[in-house]
C-alpha cells in the first residue's frame, strides 16, 4: 500500500487540477489548473521509473553490486521524457499567458464567462 503512494498522489494532484480547471472563473486560475495537471503528468512519469533500493542510472563509480545483473537502477528514459514534457509545458504556459494578456488588453476582463464573443 505504501509502495503505491506516489500513484495515489498523482491521482490527487490530477483531480485537483481538473477541478480547478472546471470550477474557477478567472482565466489565470484555469491556467494554474492546467499547470497542476501537467505536474501530475510529469509526476506519473517519474514515479513509473522508480525501482526500490536502486541508484541513479549513472555507471561512473557506481557500487559493484548494483551494476551486475539484475542491475538495480532507476529507469532513465522516463526522466528524459519528463524533462521534455516540462519544457513543452513551459512553452505552452508562455503562449497561453501572452494570449491572456492580449485578451485583457482588448476585452478588459479576465472572467471566462465574459470571454465568449464566439458562441453558437
Amino acid at each position: 500500500m505504501l509502495a503505491n503512494f506516489p500513484f495515489i498522489a498523482v491521482g490527487i494532484i490530477a483531480i485537483a487540477g481538473i477541478v480547478t480547471m472546471l470550477l474557477r472563473v478567472n482565466i489565470i486560475r484555469i491556467i494554474m489548473g492546467l499547470t497542476l495537471l501537467e505536474a501530475a503528468g510529469n509526476f506519473l512519469l517519474v514515479a513509473i521509473g522508480y525501482r526500490h533500493n536502486s541508484i541513479a542510472p549513472i555507471f561512473t563509480s557506481a557500487p559493484e553490486e548494483k551494476i551486475r545483473p539484475p542491475a538495480e537502477m532507476v529507469l532513465p528514459t522516463v526522466q528524459a521524457m519528463t524533462l521534455t514534457s516540462i519544457v513543452i509545458g513551459v512553452a505552452t504556459l508562455a503562449l497561453l499567458l501572452s494570449f491572456v494578456m492580449a485578451i485583457y488588453r482588448d476585452y478588459g476582463t479576465l472572467d471566462c464567462r465574459s470571454i465568449r464573443k464566439l458562441q453558437g
Binding site: I31, I48, M81, T92, F99, A102, I103, R105, K117, L118
Partner: protein, 527 residues
C-alpha cells in the same frame, strides 16, 4: 548525392527542411522582403517534391525506416541491445505516405495562397516561420513510429496552430479563439502523455512496433486506449468535443484554416495508427468500434444541423468540417467493429474493408474540397472585407472564377457526381448499409442537409443583382487563383478517375493499416 541516399534519408529530410525554413526566414527578411517570400515558396516547393518523391518510393518499393542516431539509418536493432529497437524510429509505410501526399499538396497550395492575403500585415516573419513549423510538426506526426515522438510533434503542431489562429488580433476575438484552441489542445496532449506513461510502465518501450508485439489487453491498457482515443478525436473535431472548431477555423486567416483541416486529419491518422497498429485484434472490436461509430454519427448529424443557422461563412464551413470528419469516423469505425471477423467471407471482407477504404479515401477528398472551400471564402473576404452572409450578395458578376471554384467545392462536399466527394461517399454508403441500414440512412440525410446549406451560402454570396457597395470588387489575385486551381484540379481528377486514387494510394494504405504483422516485421528485421 545520388538518388538512393536521398531516398534513404528522406524521412528525416522531410521534417528537417521545413524546420530549416522556419528558423531561417527571419534572417532573410533583414535583407529584402521579396527575397524572403521567394525563399519560403521555393523551400515549400522543395518540401512538396521531396514528400511526393518519398511517398512514391514507399508505395512502389515498400516501407522506409529511419533510425535517428544510428550509424546506418536502416539498422533498427543495434547488435548489443538484445533484439530490442532502442532509438527513435521513423517508420513510413503506405498509410503515412498517403498522409504525406495530402500534407504536401495542401501545404503548397496554402503557402502560395498566403502571399497576397497577408500583404497588408506586419509581422510576416513570424507568420511564415510559424506556418513552416506547423508543416514540420504535422509531417513529423505522420511519419513517426514512436509514441513519445508522436506526443512531441502533436504539441508542436498544436502550439504553432494556436499561434497562427491568433495571428490577426481582430480586437481580441482571434486571440480568444487561439486561447481556446491552445487550452483544450494542451489538456488533450496531457492525457495522451499519461496514456504513453501507462503503456511505457507496462511494456518498457516507446516504439509502436515493440508494444504491438507484446500487447495483452490488460485493464490499464483499456484506460490508456480511452486516454488516447478521446483527446485525438477531440483534436480531429468529433462531437461532443467539437466546440473549439468553429471558433478557431472562423478566426484564423483563410490559408491557415485550409491547413488546420489537414492538421485535424493528421490527428485522425494518429488515432487510426494507435487503434489499428498498436492494439489491432487484441481490443474489444465491437465495443470500441461502436464507440467510434457513435462519435462519427453524432459528429455528422450535429455538425450539419448546427451549420444551417450560421450567419458567418467560415463558421458554417467549420461546422461542415466537423460533419465530414464524422463520415471518416463512421467508415473506419465500421472497419474496426468488424476487424475481429477477418476470415474469408466474414464481416470484414464483406463490408468492413470497403468501409475503411471509403473512410480513408474520404480523408484525401475532404482535405482537397474543404481546403478549396476555405480558400474561396478567404478570397471573397479579402476582396470585400465582409465576413457576414447577411451583407454579401451579387458577387457572381465580378468574381466569376472564384464562383466556379466554389461550385466545384460545394458540389463535391455535398456528394454530387462526378466530383470526388461522391466516389468516397458511395463506398461508405454501400458498405455501412450492409453493416447496419440505419447508419447509412443517417449518412444520406446528412448529405442532403449539406447540399442545402451550401445552396444557402452560394445564393447569399454569389447570386442576386450587383450590389452598389461591391461595385469595385475585382476577382481574386493570381497567387490565390493558383492555390485554388491546384486543389480544384485534384478534385476533378479524383472524381473522374477515382480508381487511380483508390488503387494506388488508398488500398495500400488500408492494407498497411490493418496488417499489424507487416508493420512489426519492418522494425524487427533480422540482421
Amino acid at each position: 548525392m545520388n538518388l538512393d541516399s536521398l531516398v534513404k534519408h528522406s524521412p528525416a529530410l522531410v521534417v528537417a527542411l521545413p524546420l530549416l525554413l522556419a528558423f531561417s526566414t527571419p534572417l532573410w527578411s533583414r535583407f529584402n522582403k521579396q527575397l524572403r517570400n521567394i525563399w519560403v515558396v521555393a523551400g515549400m516547393c522543395m518540401t512538396t517534391l521531396l514528400g511526393l518523391f518519398m511517398a512514391y518510393n514507399v508505395l512502389r518499393y515498400g516501407p522506409i525506416t529511419y533510425v535517428f542516431g544510428a550509424s546506418d539509418p536502416t539498422q533498427t536493432i543495434p547488435h548489443d541491445s538484445g533484439g530490442i529497437p532502442i532509438r527513435i524510429i521513423f517508420n513510413v509505410d503506405a498509410m503515412s505516405a498517403f498522409m504525406v501526399i495530402i500534407i504536401a499538396i495542401v501545404g503548397l497550395a496554402t503557402t502560395i495562397y498566403a502571399r497576397p492575403s497577408e500583404l497588408r500585415r506586419k509581422g510576416l516573419n513570424s507568420f511564415y516561420a510559424l506556418l513552416m513549423l506547423l508543416i514540420a510538426g504535422v509531417l513529423g506526426l505522420v511519419c513517426t513510429g514512436d509514441l513519445f515522438n508522436m506526443f512531441v510533434f502533436f504539441e508542436i503542431s498544436s502550439l504553432a496552430g494556436a499561434a497562427l489562429v491568433a495571428y490577426r488580433i481582430d480586437k481580441g476575438i482571434a486571440v480568444e479563439a487561439g486561447l481556446k484552441y491552445a487550452l483544450i489542445s494542451t489538456v488533450g496532449g496531457l492525457f495522451f502523455l499519461i496514456a504513453v506513461a501507462l503503456l511505457y510502465g507496462q511494456y518498457g518501450s516507446l516504439n509502436i512496433a515493440v508494444i504491438a508485439k507484446m500487447m495483452q489487453f490488460t485493464r490499464l491498457d483499456r484506460f490508456a486506449l480511452v486516454f488516447i482515443t478521446v483527446p485525438l478525436a477531440m483534436k480531429a473535431g468529433a462531437v461532443p468535443m467539437h466546440m473549439w472548431t468553429p471558433d478557431a477555423y472562423s478566426r484564423a486567416p483563410s490559408s491557415i484554416t485550409a491547413f488546420l483541416v489537414v492538421s485535424s486529419q493528421a490527428s485522425l491518422y494518429a488515432l487510426f495508427r494507435i487503434l489499428f497498429t498498436l492494439y489491432n485484434v487484441t481490443l474489444d472490436c465491437r465495443t470500441f468500434g461502436w464507440i467510434i461509430i457513435i462519435l462519427g454519427v453524432l459528429s455528422m448529424f450535429i455538425g450539419v444541423t448546427m451549420a444551417l443557422p450560421q450567419k458567418t461563412v467560415k463558421r458554417l464551413m467549420a461546422y461542415h468540417a466537423i460533419s465530414q470528419t464524422g463520415y471518416m469516423l463512421l467508415g473506419v469505425g465500421v472497419g474496426l467493429a468488424t476487424l475481429c471477423d477477418q476470415d474469408k467471407g466474414g464481416a470484414f471482407d464483406v463490408c468492413g474493408r470497403t468501409a475503411m477504404v471509403g473512410g480513408v479515401f474520404h480523408i484525401i477528398n475532404h482535405a482537397m474540397y474543404k481546403g478549396l472551400l476555405f480558400l474561396t471564402a478567404g478570397a471573397v473576404i479579402h476582396r470585400t472585407g465582409v465576413r457576414n452572409l447577411e451583407e454579401l450578395g451579387g458577387l457572381g458578376h465580378s468574381m466569376k472564377l472564384t464562383m466556379v471554384f466554389f461550385i466545384i467545392g460545394a458540389l463535391s462536399i455535398a456528394g454530387i457526381p462526378p466530383f470526388n466527394g461522391f466516389a468516397s461517399k458511395i463506398l461508405i454508403y454501400e458498405s455501412v448499409f450492409m453493416f447496419s441500414p440505419y447508419l447509412a440512412i443517417i449518412a444520406i440525410l446528412v448529405s442532403i442537409l449539406t447540399l442545402a446549406s451550401f445552396v444557402k451560402v452560394f445564393h447569399s454570396m454569389f447570386m442576386g443583382p450587383k450590389l452598389p457597395k461591391f461595385a469595385e470588387v475585382k476577382d481574386a489575385p493570381t497567387p490565390m487563383m493558383f492555390g485554388m486551381g491546384l486543389l480544384a484540379v485534384m478534385i476533378v481528377i479524383g472524381g473522374l478517375f477515382p480508381t487511380i486514387v483508390t488503387e494506388n494510394i488508398v488500398e495500400p494504405a488500408v492494407t498497411a493499416l490493418t496488417n499489424q504483422s507487416a508493420y512489426i516485421r519492418t522494425i524487427f528485421i533480422l540482421p
